[in-house]
Each structure stands twice: as structure tokens, then as C-alpha cells.
Amino acid sequence: MSGVTVVRAGALTTLQDLGRAGYAHLGVPRSGALDLPAHRLANRLVGNAEGAATLETTVSGCTLRAARPLLAAVTGAACAVRVDGRPAAWGAPVRVPGGALLEVGAAAVGLRSYVAVAGGFAVEPVLGSRATDLLSGLGPAPLADGDELPVGAGRGAAAAVDVLPYASAGGELVLPFLPGPREDWFEPGAPAALVTGEYAVSPASNRIGLRTDGPALRRAAGREGELPSEPMVPGAVQVPPDGRPVVFLADHPTTGGYPVIGVVPEESLPAAAQSAPGTRIRFVALRSGRPEL
């Protein structure tokens, strides 16, 4: 079970996997990797099952020392990868000799890189997941310098990869949304204002939600207060009293009292998680997915 030592934890590096779906009724957020396709890909590259725990870095990468020879892969935000100082491949299996340093550099494109090792990081699961949930504190604490992380036994063969296509974030973040369920809590023009308004990713964004800077969405007359608490979903575009929409990400609270003007489909959330503060956001209204009663 010997694994790796954290030499440099970076700004915020957490263990992540597919999360804890199915416990929202107990007040437990889903959590899990914000960029799930990148997490899954990192695991596939080293021959792991998709649910194996990876490391999710934030902006500044991290550095690990391998206690024994390891097969690793770095995906997600593009970054320099080095093994004992020598350049190594991003987005491909990399052999790390026992005792060697694996350096995951600062994100050049995107925000969050994913580091998988063959066998997976074998910390104790909580409710079936090794994910760090920053809202409720479930799962392991964020990495700190000097931490030792156990690594399980590798099982599969490394994927033979020549080219890795990566949909890099362009100059803007496109967020489609299905209107509702509470668009009637806003002025009639609010969904249109969301579509036409100049919004940008706020530096206050985190694993709980993508916060936005831009014009405030106005409530309808007589709808100034809070709703009785209602369940929230990933991608819910919740509008707090300041009128600036927040797009809920993996560590979002399970219930909330501010109205949700629309919901961004989950396949669009990885791009949201990789968009740096200041990135222009384009909200696009999809035809209402609301069932007609």
C-alpha cells in the first residue's frame, strides 16, 4: 500500500472520484471530480476503473514523490509534467521510478488537472466515495505538504495512446440552460436578460458553485423573500439576493431557499469547472424541459 508523499500540495488539491450520488435526502452533496471526463480519462490511461480516486489540482498543480515505481497520468487542465525534472507527457501514461518526483505544473489552459496512478489513491472511503466534499467536510481533508497517500495495487494495463484529443476551453464559456423551475420569481424579461447580459466567471467561484459577475437579475414584484427550502441539483442556476447567478457544481448544498431560474445540463459543467476567473460566459436558453401538465 505504500504510495506517494505530497511534496508540494499546491493551492488546493483534493482527492476526487465519481462522488456520493444517492444520499442527497440525508443532506449529503454529490461531490466528486468537477471535470468528470478528465477524471475518467486519467484513470483509463493507467488502467484503473473509472471510480478510482484521482487528485484534482487547482491552478498551481502539485508535486508528489513516489515510494515505489508507479504508472501515472495527468489530464484536465493542460500543464507541464516532469519526472525528476525531465519533461514527461501530459495526457498519457508516464512511468515514475521509485523515489522519483512527479511534478504537475501550473495550469496553462483550464484550472483543474487530474492525476491518476495505477491502483488508485487508496484512502478510506466515506459513504462509498473517497471524494473530498468542501461544503460538508466529508472525505479526506485537502492535501497538505508532507501527507502520505496510500496507492492500491495496479490491475489493468496502461492504455496505448498516441494522440489525446482535448476540447480546450475557448475564449468564452457557453452554458446552455433549461429554464425553470422558478423563472416566475423573476421579472418577465429575466431569462432573456441572462442570455443577453455580459457575464463573466467570478474569482469567488469554487467547488460549490461557479459565481458570476454581471448585471443583476431582478425579482418579480412581490417575490423578494426566500422560497421554502427546496432540493437543488448540479447545474442549478440559483440567484441569490444580489441578483448574480450561481451555477451549482459538485459540492453544492442539497437544498436551498433562493430561486433557480434554470438548470445547466451536467455535460456542460466540466467546461464551467475549467474556466478561469474573468472568462466571458454566454448563457443559451434551451427549449423548456419542463413537463407540460
Partner: protein, 200 residues
């Protein structure tokens, strides 16, 4: 609510609880096995992971849902010491002597309406409207784990220390949250709850 999920809105909290109980009965009977989450809240229930949300939404509005009182079940007893810092204030709001507050609370039938705020934090309904109290004007920065508080129509216990604005009337040693237990929450939605006086 987005793709594959339906937020069912009911007229009041009791109907939301009744609908939640009905959904659990139907899931236990093998209906909609693909459903990922059934999450009740104050007046709504979320059903997520549906293959056919439109069909479900049309069907659910036609259901005959029995009122929640008929869905019985054993009450879970939770021992409480009535030693909270807001006992005097709550008793004053209730216009009763502070010494009578424990009898009122232990004499009330509560039910878990929903969980939220933190893992294992249960919102308990059952207090009659005249016993509803407002939140404290200024939240406390740290409410100790196990505190029993009141706010609006709800009573609730903090599974771990956190900031909070509820009026604190007592403390419990009951293990409200234990991830090693199944279910991890002591009080799951739909559970009936009776408070008892803890023997010190």
C-alpha cells in the same frame, strides 16, 4: 428541473411529506428502479434520474396520496437535556414559565420533513403554529454539536458544530451522524421523533 429530474410542488409541507412517503413505497415496490435520488424539502419533492420525466410528471399529479398521519411507524426517541442558552427567550415567546418548556417539547409528536444544511441535519415538523419562533437576529458563529434548536416551523439538531441562527433549547448525545452506519443519519425523512428528558 433540468433534464431527467422533476420537482413536484405540493400545497403544503404535510402533502410534501405524504408524497415523499408514497414515492418511497412505490420505489420499494419496484417502480422506477432507475431513479437516482428522491429528495424531499419544505413543500417540494425532487425525483432525479427519470427516463421519462414528462410521463412521470403527468402520472404523479393523478396519484391518490394518503395523508401522512396514516403512514405510522415507530417513533424514534431522542434524549435531550433542556439546557440551551435560549430556553428563557423561547419560553417567553411561548408565554409559558421556562420550567414548562421541556414538557411541551417532550409532549409533541415530531416528524422528519427533510434533511439539509449539513449531512444528517433533520428538519422536524410538529410544533403548532403558535409555538413557531423566529431565528435569532444575529446567528451564532459556532453552535455546539448536538444542540437542539427551533426556527420557524422547524426543530433541528446540529450533527456537528457550525454557525447557526436557531434558538437553542437543549442538547442531545444521540449519534445524529455516523458515516459507518447505514443509514448514516439517525433521523431520515419520514421518521417520527419523540424527545425525552435525558437522565443526567
Amino acid at each position: 428541473m433540468g433534464r431527467g429530474a422533476v420537482l413536484v410542488e405540493t400545497e403544503d409541507g404535510e402533502r410534501a411529506q405524504a408524497l415523499h412517503a408514497e414515492l418511497l413505497r412505490r420505489r420499494a415496490a419496484g417502480e422506477f428502479a432507475q431513479v437516482r435520488e428522491i429528495v424531499p424539502a419544505a413543500r417540494t419533492v425532487l425525483v432525479a434520474g427519470l427516463d421519462d420525466p414528462k410521463g412521470f410528471a403527468a402520472a404523479v399529479s393523478a396519484w391518490e396520496v394518503p395523508p401522512v398521519a396514516e403512514a405510522g411507524g415507530e417513533a424514534r426517541e431522542v434524549p435531550v437535556r433542556f439546557d440551551g442558552p435560549d430556553v428563557e427567550e423561547v419560553a417567553a415567546l411561548w408565554s409559558v414559565p421556562a420550567a414548562e418548556l421541556p414538557d411541551i417539547v417532550t409532549g409533541t409528536d415530531f416528524r422528519v420533513a427533510f434533511c439539509g444544511f449539513a449531512p444528517g441535519f433533520a428538519y422536524l415538523t410538529g410544533l403548532p403554529p403558535q409555538l413557531h419562533v423566529p431565528r435569532r437576529p444575529t446567528p451564532r458563529t459556532a453552535v455546539p454539536a448536538g444542540s437542539l434548536g427551533l426556527a420557524g416551523p422547524y426543530a433541528g439538531m446540529y450533527p456537528r458544530s457550525s454557525p447557526g441562527g436557531w434558538q437553542l433549547i437543549g442538547t442531545t448525545d444521540a449519534p445524529l451522524w455516523d458515516p459507518a452506519r447505514d443509514p448514516a443519519a439517525l433521523l431520515t425523512p419520514g421518521t417520527r421523533v419523540r424527545f425525552t428528558r435525558a437522565t443526567a
